[in-house]
């Protein structure tokens, strides 16, 4: 019997040939179509590429000349890439993991004019598209709803008002219990009658009888004194309780103010409040960047602080568990081992060069393989024939001991800024040259973001609708200065966020804006206070009625004491 089956060898060869023909002549077109249609749906406007090449043996995929149109301007591309190449691990793909050994991006162009008009595509209705996040965030941060704030703040007024009302009722009830032990009206009247009777008897009695009556009178007076002492002590207790409860009532009424202040401080200190302020001070773009940095820092912080117990994942059926040996790390499900970008950088009509590398971009940190990256660009004739350059680098290490496992630096010099709308879009700084330095340090407990923006060689324009003496004065100040330097600092420690903006033009520049914001803040504060007051209004009325009845009670006790006073 022959060992080999010739027909089997022939069929494998035919299958191989068919697969090769399929990949060479059809699959590349299918991939291009899939990327174009899928990308267009996500982007909301045309995504096109000139071709794709699938390496069927090495698992590589190359996409050529990708153009991503801008849905807001169909004659422009928001991003163009000359080449995007993935080297995928097929074995990991069969395990359900997406591991890219190398990702290459060649030549980036931003905001470029298109030859043909792009088409609009209906966006996926599920959630906000990642492309539109800055606009969405800024819209959210512009409006602050008092009801939303109150939902986030632990407003104690209604609860404390209820507790106080119960306390007053309890006090009244305990007084009534104590009062039931006191000599009642009948007993007091009997004392009065007995006293008057003994007095009468005393007048008409002989000496011996007078001695006896005197003794009885003495005994009665002693009883009355004892009763009086009991009532007086009770009266003192009631008076003291009333004084104390009135004091508490005064303090409680201030709780509404405290809650209002708390709500307002939350507005200013939470990321929402901070974004609101950032949007008002620095403009929508800056607010969007603050949001981007903070949100992504939170995501990366989760990666950088692995749980104390190394979790052993329960394997999915037919998946098994990977055990690392030697220098092999525990593999995450998404892992780009190395990414590099190089080539030209086109931004509007400016042309420069870009290069950068990133390592271990993954959905979890890999011990011994820090996530890091750097990007450099140079644009020779960017702003008024000056060279613009920038650098971005970051690192994330899996180290529980490190106080700042996330570090990032971003710097740009001589970057041309065509329009910067600031101060709630009242002011536009045009044709400026910007030097930006941003530093991020984030640890488990603290995130610090410091940024310095220096604008020079600019022109200032005031929005006619916003024209007022304040803004006119502001424009004068900005025009007369050689440059504007803004220092922005954000510190997030657990739930507390501190946000500060200082400038070399602080005295004149921000004083006026603060005045404007102050008025808005006062209005919001009054709305918040009204909301809290409406929540406690019912309880307040009940408490006031109860307090009035307590004062009446005090009068009843005082009358009893007066009655006994007359018997002495």
């Amino acid at each position: 019997m022959k060992l080999f089956r010739l027909s089997g060898i022939a069929i494998v060869a035919v299958f191989g040939l068919l697969a090769w023909i399929l990949i060479t002549f059809f699959v590349n077109d299918w991939i291009s179509d899939a990327v174009e249609s899928g990308g267009s749906k996500v982007n909301g406007a045309t995504v096109s590429l000139s071709g794709s090449q699938l390496g069927w043996l090495d698992g590589s995929l190359q996409l050529d000349n990708i153009e991503i149109a801008d849905p807001d301007d169909l004659m422009r591309n928001r991003l163009q890439l000359e080449l995007l190449k993935f080297d995928l691990s097929i074995q990991e793909l069969l395990k359900g993991n997406f591991h890219v050994d190398e990702l290459s991006l060649k030549s980036i162009a931003l905001n470029q004019e298109r030859v043909q008009k792009a088409s609009l595509y209906k966006k996926n209705s599920q959630g906000d598209s990642s492309w539109s996040w800055p606009e969405t965030i800024v819209e959210k941060s512009k409006s602050v709803d008092p009801n939303d704030i109150l939902k986030k703040v632990d407003i104690r007024s209604p609860e404390l008002y209820q507790q106080f009302s119960d306390k007053v009722s309890q006090m009244r009830s305990s007084w009534e219990t104590a009062a039931s032990q006191l000599p009642d009206e009948e007993k007091l009247n009997k004392h009065k009658q007995d006293y008057q009777q003994l007095k009468e008897e005393f007048k008409s009695a002989n000496t011996l009888e007078k001695i006896k009556i005197s003794k009885e009178l003495k005994q009665l007076t002693s009883k009355i004194k004892k009763d009086k002492q009991q009532i007086t002590d009770f009266k003192k207790q009631v008076e003291s309780d009333i004084d104390s409860i009135k004091e508490d009532w005064k303090l409680l009424q201030k709780q509404v103010d405290k809650d209002t202040d708390l709500a307002m401080s939350i507005v200013n200190l939470t990321p929402e409040g901070m974004k609101h302020i950032a949007a008002s001070f620095l403009g929508e773009g800056a607010a969007g960047w603050v949001e981007l940095v903070l949100d992504n820092t939170d995501v990366i912080k989760k990666l950088a602080t692995p749980s104390s117990k190394e979790e052993v994942k329960k394997p999915a059926p037919r998946e098994g568990i990977d055990i690392p040996f030697g220098n092999e790390p525990v593999r995450p499900s998404f892992w780009v081992k190395k990414a590099d970008v190089s080539g030209t950088l086109n931004y509007d009509s400016m042309v420069g060069r870009v290069n950068g590398k990133a390592f271990n971009l993954a959905n979890r940190l890999i011990p011994g393989n820090p996530m890091s990256g750097e990007l450099n660009f140079v644009i020779p004739n960017a702003s008024q024939q000056k060279e613009a350059s920038g650098q971005f680098n970051f690192s994330v290490v899996a180290n529980k001991q490190s106080t700042s496992p996330i570090n990032a630096n971003f710097s740009v010099s001589n970057w041309p800024v065509e329009n910067w709308r600031a101060a709630s879009s009242a002011l536009t700084i045009r044709d400026a040259s910007a030097n930006i330095q941003m530093e991020l340090r984030a640890g488990k407990e603290k995130t610090e973001l410091t940024s310095t923006i220096r604008l020079s060689d600019y022109d200032v324009q005031l929005d006619e609708k916003s024209s007022s003496s304040t803004f006119n004065h502001l424009v004068e100040v900005v025009r007369s200065a050689e440059n504007i330097e803004l220092n922005i600092a954000v510190m997030q420690q657990q739930k507390d966020v501190e946000f500060s903006v200082t400038s070399n033009l602080d005295e004149l520049f921000f004083a006026k804006i603060r005045e404007e914001l102050q008025a808005k803040a006062e209005k919001l504060k009054s709305e918040v206070k009204q909301q809290i007051q409406s929540q406690v209004q019912g309880q307040r009325e009940k408490i006031e009625q109860k307090l009035a009845s307590l004062t009446n009670y005090k009068q009843v006790i005082a009358d009893k004491v007066n009655l006994l006073d007359k018997l002495n």
Partner: protein, 167 residues
């Protein structure tokens, strides 16, 4: 469609010796037990195509054995975990799993390792047992089975008629 399947089986299934059937069942067992990401699975497939094993039996048992594989998954994971986490074998596994062959076979994976070991250990017993069963069947059971009502029903189906006409 049935015609096509019958033609396909006829072209490939010209060997019907007990050995060919035995090898088909044994190889189908390893093929079914191995996970997709182990290169050994694809090597087995090529072996089956190139070598004279009974293809019908291989296809049939490749459909049946995965049900067993799903049931045995926890056992395979436990065996693999015990082997890979055995401190005395750590140096050995470090050498094996970092080699290119070890990586292709995904030997650092509990399921890939244990299913390969179990498959290799059971290969010969399965081959021998299956072969014996085929001989026993042909000698003692074939005639009785062919008289069964169910078998007669099956023989009346269109697929069987096409298969017979091609054989």
């Amino acid at each position: 469609m049935l015609n096509l399947i019958a033609k396909f089986l006829k072209v490939l299934n010209s060997e019907e010796s007990p050995s060919a059937v035995g090898w088909a069942i044994a190889l189908a067992f390893i093929f079914a037990m191995l996970p997709l990401f182990s290169a050994a699975k694809w090597v087995i497939l090529l072996l089956v195509a190139f070598l004279r094993v009974n293809l019908s039996m291989f296809i049939l048992f490749s459909i049946l054995f995965p049900l067993l594989a799903w049931l045995l998954d926890p056992l395979f994971n436990a065996i693999g975990l015990w082997l890979l986490q055995n401190p005395q074998l750590e140096t050995f596994w470090t050498t094996v799993t970092t080699s290119s062959v070890g990586q292709s076979l995904a030997l650092n994976n509990t399921l890939a390792l244990s299913s390969l070991i179990v498959g290799v250990v059971l290969l010969i017993p399965l081959y021998w047992g299956s072969k014996k069963l085929v001989v026993l069947y042909r000698n003692y059971l074939k005639e009785r089975v062919e008289k069964l009502y169910l078998v007669r029903m099956l023989k009346a189906t269109k697929l069987y008629q096409i298969y017979q006409s091609m054989a």
